[in-house]
């Protein structure tokens, strides 16, 4: 069982603040007028369909988008002036698995930006091994990254993000493409890190398996649709506006379960066949 207990924010100043942010990548905006505040010590899940702008939220926090309007502040400083330091874990499917690097070399990349020395210093190596031991992958340090299981690969990239001890951890779909056991392990680990004070912002596609277990969920579709604990946010109305599809929400013994209604497609087509195109046009 995970730790769904809501976590108390730890500070007075927001760690991340979106002030009316409209941003993109040079073309049409990917996010429109987003207002969002993340307090130190929070654990927030960003939920939404593909192309809704979840990853863009993470990139905006890192200052890696074009801001058309508004600004993002991290620890009170605008990110477009000076990029903030945060631990970032990319989607594993974007990683070049044929690249000749070992786990240790990947973890040490997390300290590379501040070093003009070709070899890692002793304290850097100690930091790397410390975090690898903490995540249970120290014995794999010399392995090539492709020779790891999905969970171990995720831990290796998590270790790279954590090695510089950041206050803020950003994860892009950390549970995509892994089995149930690995997914639970990763979520346990993230909850532990969060309980130790790390602020976490992650994106996910998994409503029941991931988002429902987080203390706070933000539903996104080019803008913020809803923001709050899963029990409040997961309503048919909010999910319908987020995903553009009808969903059923079941409350059962304190659990919130969301079910899609795939037969809707067939219903629409059945209506279309029966000669009422007006009904079919309303999605």
């Amino acid at each position: 069982m995970l730790h769904p207990a809501p976590h108390e924010p730890l500070g007075q100043q927001p760690l991340v603040e979106f002030r009316g942010v409209t941003c993109g990548y040079g073309g049409p905006p990917a996010l429109v007028e987003v207002e969002l505040t993340v307090w130190p010590g929070e654990f927030v899940g960003l939920l939404g369909p593909s192309g809704a702008g979840k990853t863009t939220v993470l990139r905006a926090v890192l200052g890696a988008v074009q801001f058309y309007q508004g600004q993002v502040l991290v620890e009170g400083r605008p990110v477009d002036r000076r990029r903030p330091r945060a631990g970032y874990v990319p989607q594993l499917e974007t990683v070049d698995w044929g690249f000749p690097v070992t786990v240790e070399q990947v973890v040490l990349m997390g300290l590379a930006a501040d070093s003009w020395w070709p070899w890692p210093r002793r304290h850097e190596r100690e930091m790397a091994y410390g975090i690898m031991e903490r995540l249970g992958i120290a014995h794999l340090a010399g392995r090539h990254i492709r020779a790891l299981s999905g969970g171990q690969q995720q831990r290796a990239f998590l270790a790279r993000a954590l090695v510089s001890n950041p206050r803020l951890l950003l994860l892009d779909e950390p549970t995509a493409g892994v089995d149930i056991k690995t997914r639970d392990d990763i979520l346990h680990l993230l909850h532990e890190l969060n309980h130790e004070g790390t602020t976490i912002l992650l994106t996910t596609h998994e409503i029941n398996a991931v988002a429902a277990h987080l203390p706070r969920v933000v539903c996104i579709n080019r803008g913020v649709i809803a923001d709050g604990p899963p029990a409040e946010v997961f309503t048919p109305g909010v999910l319908g506006r987020t995903y553009g599809a009808e969903m059923t929400v079941v409350h059962h013994e304190g659990l919130v379960l969301v079910a899609e209604r795939p037969h809707r497609y067939y219903e629409e087509h059945a209506v279309q066949r029966s000669g009422d195109p007006g009904e079919a046009g309303r999605a």
């Binding site: 890192l62 890696a64 990029r83 330091r85 945060a86 970032y88 990319p90 974007t94 990683v95 070049d96 690249f99 000749p100 690097v101 070992t102 070399q105 990947v106 040490l108 990349m109 997390g110 300290l111 590379a112 930006a113 501040d114 070093s115 003009w116 020395w117 070709p118 890692p120 090539h144």
Partner: protein
Amino acid sequence: MLEPFQYEFFVRGFIVAGLVGTLCGLIGVYVVLRKMSYIGHGLSHAMLGGAVVSYVMAFNFYVGAGLWGFLSALLINATTRRRQYIGADAAIGVITTASFAVGVALISRYRTFTRNFEAALLGDVLGVTGQDIIAVAAMTGLALLFVLVAYRKLLFLTFDPEVSAYYGVRTGLLDSLFALVLAGTIVVSMQVIGVTMLVAALVIPPVTARLLTHSFHYLVVLSALVGALSGLLGIYLSYYFDISSGANVVLVAAAAFLLAYLWSALRGRLDVLSGVREALPH
């Protein structure tokens, strides 16, 4: 066996080939891993334009061709960023062949460059002067210094350019510096390897080394070593077989690749066999 070393021109060629091999092997690691092989290929051809322009304008070859190459590299970088409109390979094709054509056009107009033209295309290690040795040695030293100082940042940038920027690596600066080093490498190597063979000297050593190791550190060292040995052995053998120096260096490197390929295939088979043996009941 030591007979060729009594000739000064051979010793000069031997030293230069070893240095060029090391340099191309070292820089080639980044070219291959960043999937820039075609850029290397195009850039070496583009450089011919610069070489001819500096010759016609009586400008120092290294400065002229280097500047030309650096500008071409920046132009290629800029065009490949607009990949939503033009494919990167097509953009490189346009810029580099246009630049190559400038060289060919000037040669056919002035007609005084034909011997050097052949050397630029196929490599001519016998024509190496003392100034060439200094240029190659200086460039090798510079490239080594650059790789050493930026080693960890370059590794991160090569592995994942986008994410390395999120972690504070100054990717724009490093990209430009790398383009400069690559252009310099191609300029000083042109005379020895030749424009047409250069990309092989950049690509074969790292690909050979990749078959032998999974670790980036070993890859860099092995690739430089394969490059150096191919250069030295290639020139040495060219004394006995009357083959152009560039082609010989590349043929030796290709032989090394073949050996590494056979070794890795054999090792794969052996690993599978030992895996099967372990899985069988004892």
